[in-house]
């Protein structure tokens, strides 16, 4: 209960890596799992959410979605099987826009497919949306991913 944030991430890390091999494309699973664990670790609940133009109400980030993960991961059993994951996702209709804690498998998918890496993977090119890419290369077709 009083463990620091990173302790929770460390606790679930091995299971998340195992789960990633089932839910994510094989070639990105390991890297994405590590990034997701880091994301959980650095998450700050209660931080102001970007408001900007068009969103006049102040909102804050909800509780760290990973608070639910230990139980969800235990329920998947060991070793984690595809059947167990399918069963766990039966009540979830779509990949959420952001990890929301409803299920770690869906959150892992959300984390990847809403990331710059996930976007590049889908499109098969290096858009690299989160990088400052310079204006000179702006006109070029994004390079194909090999």
């Amino acid at each position: 209960m009083f463990a620091p944030r990173w302790a929770r991430a460390q606790e679930v890390a091995p299971s998340i890596r195992e789960l990633a091999k089932i839910v994510l494309p094989a070639e990105t699973a390991a890297k994405t799992a590590d990034q997701f664990i880091e994301w959980i670790r650095d998450y700050k609940p209660g931080a102001e959410i970007a408001s900007g133009y068009g969103n006049p109400r102040t909102q804050v980030t909800p509780a760290n979605p990973s608070v639910n993960y230990p139980g969800q991961l235990r329920a998947l059993g060991s070793p984690i099987t595809r059947a167990a994951v399918e069963s766990a996702l039966a009540s979830i209709d779509r990949i959420p826009q952001r990890p929301n804690g409803k299920h770690v498998a869906a959150d892992l998918l959300s984390f990847f497919y809403n990331s710059a890496d996930g976007e590049d993977y889908l499109y098969g090119v290096a858009i690299k949306r989160d990088e400052c890419r310079g204006l000179a290369s702006s006109t070029e077709r994004p390079a194909r991913l090999t």
Binding site: I22, L24, E48, Y53, T61, R129, D130
Partner: protein, 516 residues
Amino acid sequence: MATHESDVCIIGAGISAAMLAQKLSELRPGVSITIVEAGRSFFDFENRFKQRERMLKYNENPWPGDFIEGQFAAGGISHTMAVGGQALHWGGTCNRFSEEDLRLKSMYGLYIDWPIEWAELEKFYCEAERRLGVSGEPSPFPEDKRSQPYPMKPIPLTWSLERLREWGNKSGIPFQATPQAKNTIAYDGRAACIRCGTCDICPTGARYSPDYTFKKLIAEKKITLHERTLIRKLVSEDGNKTVASARAANGDVYRAKTFVVASGYTWSSHLLLLSGLANSSGLVGKYMNGHSFIQAFIEIDGEIYPNMNPQYGLISRQFFRCSGNDPYVRHDLRIWEAAREAPRLKDSAGKVLLGDEIVKDWRSRARRGVARVRAYYDVHPAKNSELTLDLSAKNQYGDPMPKIVHRPDDATAARLGATRKHVQEIFERMARNDHGKILRTNEGNYLDHPAGGCRMGNDPSTSVTDSFGRAHDHENLFVVGAPTLPNAGCTNGTLTFVALTLRSAEEIARGFAKKA
């Protein structure tokens, strides 16, 4: 509790205040200028990459604390109250209006005319573009003739935008790059854009933001800035002829020869209503305006990728004007890169997709590029399109908060169906090229790029200020920027707010003798 005295007291520290203070300090170097802002400042440029990263990863506010708890406008579109105002996180789009926006009555028999000539405004557009640092390409339409070139060449179109321009032009509608207050070369002490794609927090300073101007003016001792100081009331001491002081929530009193309300479209009218000033016409808070929009997502053949430069796009000014013989409809037309549909968790039969199956499924469904096309169309406000004081919602000082309800005038409401039909036909016309398919359309449920509440005019019985923003009722009180606009045109308003403010600056300067 302290009393602060200055020649000019500007209330609000957004983009209009920044431009006014800068120009006034140039025209009248000896004039003392105090700027009072309710919110905090963000003079921490060194943190912007870090803030950007947190926003990208966690959707955290890159401008933490850019609002005041309890100071909330119902019907508003942003809660930002800070040094820099909403322009802290604007996209930087710097479109000009067209002459038609200023001549609705004389050209179309609609609404009213502005008390300013187009040629006069055009001169200040050029100055606004120079001060903000706008990159752009000239419009192909002769009516959009410019008296000076853009200060900088346009931002290069991305691969996707170039494809989208080719597609758009096939409809016989010429598209061009949208002018942007973003540097394509180092300009005014700020770096060139490096396409970070997060213009709402530009980490390099390439996108203009008022905090740069304020920081410079403070360093040069040309202004005094009092942040975190909410002005609750303006007070007259001579039977409403002039404004004598501004009273702050902390008890401080600001006395000045000239007061300028530069608090945006919401808080300017709000302050005047709380003060009971400038309102002999009964029009403070009336004729609140903006423009509506309709947008479509159109799937087309073509290699279109999203997020190559997400806050950059194309505009056509073809529909800024319409013939007097046609039914009245005026709008801009915009195109942005858009993402294809999202990957899905389950296939049509409800089977859970995992691993490579998700990508395979997505690639089988989302093969074509997607364009987001939007038209901001001209609507005119009714008198009761208004900001009022909501007695049921008060801040910690007991002041009623503003409530904004936009209402179109009768002529606008009557032609709404025809406007929608016209825009839909344009979407369909565009979709006839490259095997286009309209995936979905939607309409905004609010007026975008809002303005108004202290509209300018020559007649004190039908307007709050004159063309310079001087209140008809008080010779030393000005309102600048968005509130003075009678109508919001059919494209982004910031450049117009700034142009009008720069014109006001000259009038305010005329009130102070030049020192030898």
